[in-house]
């Protein structure tokens, strides 16, 4: 490996989120010092991921098979679809473990700033899935942001004729949150979404 190869490795690592030039240099050195235990397995994993991982044609998830392992899992509830903005959100929900239904990844949110319109998102695919007679509920799990909720309202309109129940994640006080430290918007959203106990 020449100096140029090392420099290229550092430059590519520096493009990974969370790594800057300095940390990329440290990571590169770590990998090069542990060629057999770290660098080669990583290189193999990267090649395998590049070859095998693809976007699920049903839900938009990333997996080694298409349809993805979530879509083909018969132990999951096939009547509920949870709509998320991005694959990272799907992974977050899976980590939390509180949902055992199907997912649908939109691929972003409507954004005037970035020029993202309805045609740039996987909304038509969601509407087609919602027309399936087995689907009874669609849960919207978009972020509590102006763009996220604008997208949610648009999706609600598009699902109006599908005959499914549409629900949305609650907005409010996070676990461990104290009112004194919360912003006004969160407190008023929590107050609006209060429920009887």
């Amino acid at each position: 490996m020449t100096g140029g190869d090392i420099e290229r490795l550092i430059q590519l690592l520096a493009k990974v989120p969370g790594l800057g030039p300095r940390s990329a240099r440290r990571a590169a050195l770590h990998l090069l010092k542990r060629k057999e235990t770290a660098l080669e397995p990583l290189a193999d994993a990267l090649v395998a991921a590049a070859e095998k991982v693809r976007t699920c044609s049903t839900c938009g998830n990333l997996d080694g098979i298409d349809p993805c392992s979530i879509c083909v899992d018969q132990n999951r509830n096939l009547t509920i679809i949870c709509v998320v903005e991005d694959v990272a959100d799907l992974w977050a929900l899976e980590r939390a473990g509180g949902f055992r239904g199907q997912y649908h990844v939109l691929g972003g949110t409507l954004s005037a700033l970035d020029g993202v319109g309805p045609d740039d998102l996987n909304i038509t695919g969601l509407v087609n899935r919602a027309h399936d007679e087995n689907v009874v509920e669609v849960i919207l799990a978009m972020g509590a942001t102006v763009d996220g909720q604008t997208t949610a309202h648009y999706v609600i309109d598009r699902l109006a004729d599908c005959g499914v129940s549409v629900s949305q994640l609650a907005h409010g006080i996070p676990v461990g949150g104290e009112l004194d430290y919360l912003d006004d918007g969160t407190i008023s959203a929590a107050m609006k979404a209060r429920r009887p106990i």
Binding site: L113, D147, T150, H153, D183, G185, T186, S188, A189
Partner: protein
């Protein structure tokens, strides 16, 4: 070292690098002004930097022409309470996108700021917030130098029964003079004349108002955004149509 503090409304926040954001703020004394917010994409500040939120902003830069950086503090969470209200949220998104696209940068427009403040407050409380929105766009046109003359009829000079506006000159036309031109003139809703009659305007009047302001925003102010209004304005109109 340049430094000022001002109050303002967040118009947009675009992620920059790992955790920062370039934020456009409509400020009271410094107009639409961009700046870098360190940590603006992070968990602590992302909620504050939602479009429509009112903030206290402190801007610093070495030279006045630099982008500079903001430190911000939330003074009024306007976006949060509207997240569940589709029409109002669409109105808020549209107003912010229009202000971002059309207002010149670093040019003080205190009147527009005051009008924007009224608009944001109307989303929370006013039953006729759609009319306030249309009036705000009308005020934006005037402030940018494309004000409509709705004081008298361009053809006859009368001040009563003004029902249309010429799409070329932006001057009002009375019903009698408008009749020969059929559908070529833009309809002028009554609520835009002398503050209207105090009643909440109906859907048709709101759509006429939006069509009127939209025509002049698109065709006269449009050079800065290639003649197309932000998509969020179209979605707002679609929502109001139902």
């Amino acid at each position: 070292m340049m430094h000022w503090t001002d109050s303002g409304f967040v118009l947009s926040a675009r992620k920059h690098g790992e955790s920062s954001a370039i934020v456009n703020v409509l400020t009271r004394e410094h107009g639409r002004h961009a700046g870098l917010v360190r940590g603006g994409s992070g968990r602590r500040l992302r909620g504050i930097l939602q479009p429509g939120n009112e903030i206290a902003a402190s801007w610093r830069a070495r030279l006045s022409e630099h982008l500079g950086s903001y430190t911000v503090e939330l003074s009024g969470g306007r976006a949060g309470p509207l997240l569940g209200e589709a029409d109002k949220l669409a109105g808020l998104a549209s107003a912010c996108a229009i202000a971002e696209a059309l207002m010149p940068e670093r040019e003080s427009h205190p009147a527009l700021y005051a009008a924007f403040r009224i608009l944001m407050a109307s989303f929370e409380h006013a039953p006729d917030w759609q009319a306030v929105y249309v009036r705000w766009e009308l005020g934006l046109l005037a402030e940018l130098g494309f004000g409509l003359d709705l004081s008298k009829c361009a053809a006859t000079g009368v001040t009563e029964n003004l029902t249309h506006v010429s799409p070329c000159t932006g001057r009002a036309v009375c019903e009698e003079a408008a009749a020969p031109y059929g559908g070529r003139l833009l309809r002028l809703p009554a609520f835009l004349l002398n503050g209207g009659n105090g009643a909440t305007p109906g859907n048709d009047a709101i759509h006429d108002g939006l069509a009127l302001t939209g025509h002049f925003l698109e065709n006269h102010v449009g050079a800065s955004f290639h003649g197309k209004l932000p998509a969020s304005r179209g979605r707002f109109i679609d929502r109001l149509r139902g």
